[in-house]
Symmetry: none
Subunit: 416 residues, 2 copies
């Protein structure tokens, strides 16, 4: 069964709001195995809305439209449905009674203009709302096709989708589900991932593979369709395992978690505490390590030292080190890590120093990063040049530091 | 001039990501007076993408597509453009050279599969990226119509829109412009802002007023349409001034800058240096203060101290203070600020301590925040209870600390 989601509202086309309803509805339809092949968004213009409905009904069995069901003159989804389906609007006294009661319940007089919400395309069912005043519509559109219209206010939309439309569609669509698993990895380029998985990509139709890259991370998404969630999961399992096997140590999770969450999980599991020393990331590494509730179980603190003086005074980096090697150097990163470990009394410490850019710092070009880790009997350092702008360089540096920490905690770092 | 925005990517149709690019692009097109009449989103299927392009080109003069320009096999926007326009793809040696240099620059081997990014539909121009490796495309589509394709990664998309496509469209679209000014304020509720501006809101049609609230901030957007940018700006000017006058000290900018940028500007202007001490924000305050290039002119460092031991050892908070008042207290915040100022040798220091939640910390409920500022001859502290989840509480705390700093630097804080 194919579906299409249509957002109605000029505010979407002006960029004043994101069409977040389309994302939510698509996710819920995928979960019950209904393929969404198109989204559309269209403004408050009756003819264009009707055209969008006709186009959608020509290529999908189920169309879900959001928005344009309010009580004001620019709410014209009802008329557009009537036009697209070639039927008149019929006023329903039950809805009228419902609206009058709603207003009476909150002690307000109902403007007569509100009665347009009691208009329903001939042959359609309506869905009375708990929240708000806008009824939803379920309109048969010939050849077993259905056009649903729900309010644009997210809470009102979700109420009708969860309460009426999704259960109805689940019955009609029968037992089928789309499931996804995401294998997330770091320290490897998207194109290198694609090379390693090339035959799997071309050899798989159900499940399918897809790639998504961001600064310092590549996601591999494995998606399968089955007669049930369990069947879809069973289809995914062997491919996900093979993908993870080929990507090896680069994989930090096959669960839906961020790199910092994977690191937090490892810290908790190994009962170790962590501290940081940061320069170019300005606290970003600590912010990510403390994003999850309960981070105080393993995170002790971070010394954000932007200046050479602070690196010396707070972290005990030797002045000769900075004079000889500069603040963006392996030697400085190592002393920062050692200093942070001592200062906070942590089991493990990671340090980051570098040039976020856009300007170079002394001899060090923008994007140059040095990171170091220090723990009982273990020390590691590496340097690299991160691509991109200031934000991206900072993100790359954080990813590399979290990854070094992950590999250390996982016992995957070879001794230097 | 009419435009259409097309998001390419199965992840959009599966509801795994929001099509936020469509919102951003629509907003920018509106600002230069270009009407967006439709959005579409379509998955990674060459025929359906080509159909979407054909439909868009039949009803808009400008089509902007995002996504599907990466180096992997599921990136097929290039092929879909070639199919829709009926032209072959041509490999460009200049792009090939550019790609090889990009990879060499970061010391990585380029997989040969990356070369598909050097393919350009015949007759089209390409836009070389600063960020990432995916070139954008500008494809003449007959009868003066243009089909632009840019990467789906937001930063890469924005770079090409801002740097090439929007300036080009502005020239072609000629003088008609929608302009906006945003007055940003903090320390005041959205409903209080709306009350202060009620008559302006109802009395204005061009320009119009709109409100947008987020954690610890309210934006008032003033939008006008004119025959030119200058005309639209002239319509905005008196209303923006009146809005700013009524909101008074709560306004931190009428330029398009973040609160941390306004603070950075004041620090630079007054030649003062700043340091922080952070607990619940975990480095978030420092991250924001260092987000702007050149932050090293005024930012010295931040001591992120998550534990009582670290607050004592690093910042010199007295153990009695913590035992008597707890770590989430005015007394602790004041000693943290004093400690950070001493540790980093800063002119001004701000400290944050509190409970991000979801669990309480001792007697302190989730959302409880204490902040303090210390400078030569000045000390301030305040406590409040922030609403929302962990992220929102952290954001509120950062906003309050930045605002305290702003008011201090601006000379608007009364002595205690």
């Amino acid at each position: 069964m194919r579906a299409e989601v249509i957002g109605v509202g000029t505010e979407i086309l002006l960029g004043q709001i994101a069409n977040s309803n389309a994302q939510w509805i698509s996710d819920r339809l995928a979960r019950i195995g209904i393929d969404v092949l198109h989204h559309q968004a269209v403004g408050d213009n009756e003819e264009r809305i009707a055209d969008a409905f006709r186009l959608a009904l020509s290529r999908a069995e189920v169309v879900v439209a959001t928005g344009g069901l309010g009580p004001t003159q620019d709410d014209i989804t009802r008329q557009a449905i009537a036009r697209a389906l070639g039927v008149p609007l019929v006023r329903h006294p039950e809805i009228e009674g419902f609206l009058r009661e709603k207003f009476a319940g909150i002690g307000r007089r109902m403007p007569e203009s509100n009665l347009i919400q009691a208009d329903v395309p001939e042959g359609a069912r309506y869905i009375l709302p708990d929240r708000g005043t806008a009824p939803g519509l379920a309109c048969p559109a010939g050849e077993g096709r259905m056009l649903y219209a729900v309010p644009g206010v997210p809470a009102e939309m979700r109420e009708m989708m969860d309460g009426t439309i999704l259960p109805e569609l689940e019955l009609v669509a029968g037992p089928a589900a789309i499931a996804s698993r995401i294998v997330r990895c770091t320290g490897i380029a998207e194109s290198a991932v694609a090379e390693l998985l090339d035959d799997l990509f071309h050899g798989s139709t159900n499940p399918t593979l897809a790639y998504l890259a961001s600064s310092g991370e590549v996601k591999v998404r494995i998606t399968a369709k089955g007669a049930s969630r369990a069947e879809a999961d069973a289809l995914i399992e062997p491919l996900a395992a093979e993908v993870a096997r080929r990507l090896g140590d680069h994989v930090f999770t096959t669960a839906d978690e961020e790199l910092e969450q994977a690191v937090g999980r490892l810290l908790r599991a190994t009962g170790r505490t962590v501290a940081c020393a940061e320069s170019l990331t300005g606290g970003g590494l600590a912010t990510r390590l403390t994003a999850a509730p309960g981070a105080s179980d393993y995170f002790l603190g971070s010394a954000v030292c932007y200046t050479a003086e602070a690196k010396a005074a707070v972290l005990g980096v030797r002045r000769e080190t900075i004079e000889e090697h500069g603040p963006v150097s392996e030697a400085c990163a190592r002393e920062m890590a050692a200093g942070a470990r001592r200062l906070f009394g942590a089991d493990v410490a990671v340090a980051l120093t570098g040039v976020a850019g856009p300007d170079p710092h002394g001899d060090a070009p923008p994007g140059q990063v040095w990171l170091a880790l220090e723990a009982e009997g273990a020390g590691h350092a590496r340097g690299f040049r991160a691509p991109g702008d200031r934000d991206q360089v900072r993100r790359w540096a954080e990813q590399a530091a979290l990854d070094l920490l992950r590999r250390h905690l996982d016992g995957k770092l070879l001794p230097e």
